[in-house]
Symmetry: C2
Subunit: 318 residues, 2 copies
């Protein structure tokens, strides 16, 4: 079985990206699907990812979070409400479907056969692809009425989509994000909680053998106005990331992020504290595919040969 031919790398692309991607495909850790950033996963890749996910579960077991798992699609209405389309329209994925009669069907198939854009034969459905695991959580948190004293803590996971095709195997269009999310009345404890996780995350990942650093960060807001939003986000130190070199030392990859949203989601979804005030939220996200790729890149393509200290954490029963 040969590795399928990849398209030529983009002009000026970092050669380390193609080198890593080829190694991952050759080892059957990833499987090429014809679309950059959308890969099948072999058994070994999945095992590492699931083992890391279980390590997070053990690390956070004492926190008492409510565990929820969401599907890869979410309510379009909630997504519109979240204002993701305002800040990141270029990354969002909407889901359309055919709702026409047989004659429209024939016209759509003609367009498909002719290689034409056939989206005009489609309509928006009630769902979009989720862009972060925590988005479906906020309307759920709001639906429960005022928060209890001290707020609520959630543990969520979902497949996420971001429309940014890339030859960098660490920049996926479709990937799993696990998050711890704190929803509470406005309180300095939210920032303390987030910063505590930055330290817990750093220890967890460094303990596996990854050369990680924490740095202040910003989101990829759209357009000229977006640059101001990003600068403001940095200035207020709302977002931090845990970074590790995967394909580049100069531009390391974020494998975790630590975010304080202030009252954004509380406002958008009407989440209320015990006294009726708008709740604040913070979240901590693990990029599960990126963490798996970082481990493979730094410790080697065969997890059986990883250091005993790393293996003892990921496969504690062996």
């Amino acid at each position: 079985m040969t590795t399928p031919a990849l398209p030529p790398p983009a002009p000026g692309a970092n050669p380390a990206e193609r080198e890593l991607l080829t190694a991952l495909l050759d080892h059957r850790l990833l499987v090429w699907t014809g679309v950059p950033g959308v890969y099948g996963k072999g058994a070994v890749f999945e095992d590492v990812l699931e083992r890391f996910d279980q390590l997070v579960t053990r690390a956070a077991a004492g926190d008492g979070a409510e565990r929820l798992r969401f599907p890869p699609v979410m309510s379009r209405r909630h997504f519109e409400q979240s204002e993701f389309l305002k800040s990141f329209p270029h990354l969002a994925g909407a889901v359309t479907s055919f709702e026409g009669a047989p004659a429209d069907h024939a016209a759509m198939l003609d367009a498909v056969a002719a290689g034409q854009e056939w989206s005009r034969h489609q309509k928006l459905t009630g769902v979009v692809l989720g862009s972060a695991a925590c988005y479906p959580l906020y309307p759920y948190a709001a639906s429960g009425g005022p928060l209890p004293e001290g707020g609520r803590l959630f543990d969520v996971m979902a497949w996420c989509f971001r429309h940014e095709p890339s030859g960098d195997p660490a920049r996926l269009q479709s990937f799993r994000m696990r998050e711890q999310v704190r929803v509470a009345a406005p309180d300095a404890a939210l920032v303390t909680w987030r910063d505590g996780w930055a330290e817990r995350g750093r220890e967890l990942l460094a303990g596996l053998g990854l050369p990680v650093v924490v740095d202040v960060a910003s989101d990829p807001f759209f357009g000229r106005g977006g640059r101001m939003l990003a600068a403001n986000q940095r200035e207020q130190r709302l977002k931090f990331e845990l970074l590790v070199p995967i394909c580049s030392t100069e531009a390391p990859t974020a494998i975790m992020s630590f975010n304080y949203h202030q009252d954004h989601f509380g406002q958008r979804f009407g989440i209320r504290g015990a006294a009726g005030e708008t709740a604040h939220t913070a979240c901590v996200g693990f990029g599960l595919e990126r963490i798996t790729l970082a481990l493979l890149r730094h410790l080697g393509m065969d997890p059986a040969s990883w250091p005993a200290a790393t293996r003892a954490q990921l496969w504690p029963e062996t």
Copy 2:
């Protein structure tokens, strides 16, 4: 925390559907997301689903399948090639994204704010939502060159999407499908393999305490021509399903399917046998959410109280 209000059931809907959905939400097995057929899952639901998935792994361990896991999106080009849009246009979900300039962005946001259809501000991306776990597999199987003697066996899983909003909690828009897929030169052994799995599947599910039956079936082909295709599929006995009552005894729910595709995928994707002939394919699919729902419906909402024989299989270590 209260259960969020559900929309009124569709006129003429089976009341057992709302009753089961309400029980699942009340027990925090499912979480309402605002969209029928798209539910968050609580920890207990996920545990049962994962345990059943592991039981399948143990049951099939001796078969030597190549294990692959695919993301919820797949190549649009491969999906077009599969002819799914020809047979099931109403079920497919395409993924669109915004690729415009800031002025277009403002127009899209206006449409969103006005509650208008905003898909005209979007373009098809390179991906669609997968409708069955095995679709991304066929181009991969073809890319390896002619099949070895005896063909190949795969074990795949993916989140699938089908646009059929319904108040029936067993009819999801977004769900996980696990499949065993055999790709081989045309040979009666493919039908024998499929039928063998119908018996293995029946034993596996009956052994957990579900009142299952196997019956011949057909796919929900679109339009008037579709009725002929479905009749032909039944006449040729290409598809069987494992059925169990969930919300209705008269119309039980398919929780597994057993399919012989003849040369459909071999032709569409150019999969060749050792002698260059077009390969045939067959697949066996487990509907993981439906199996979990069937277990909860028949054995009770609290897995801790399930019969010891069932628990011994799903939680063998306890």
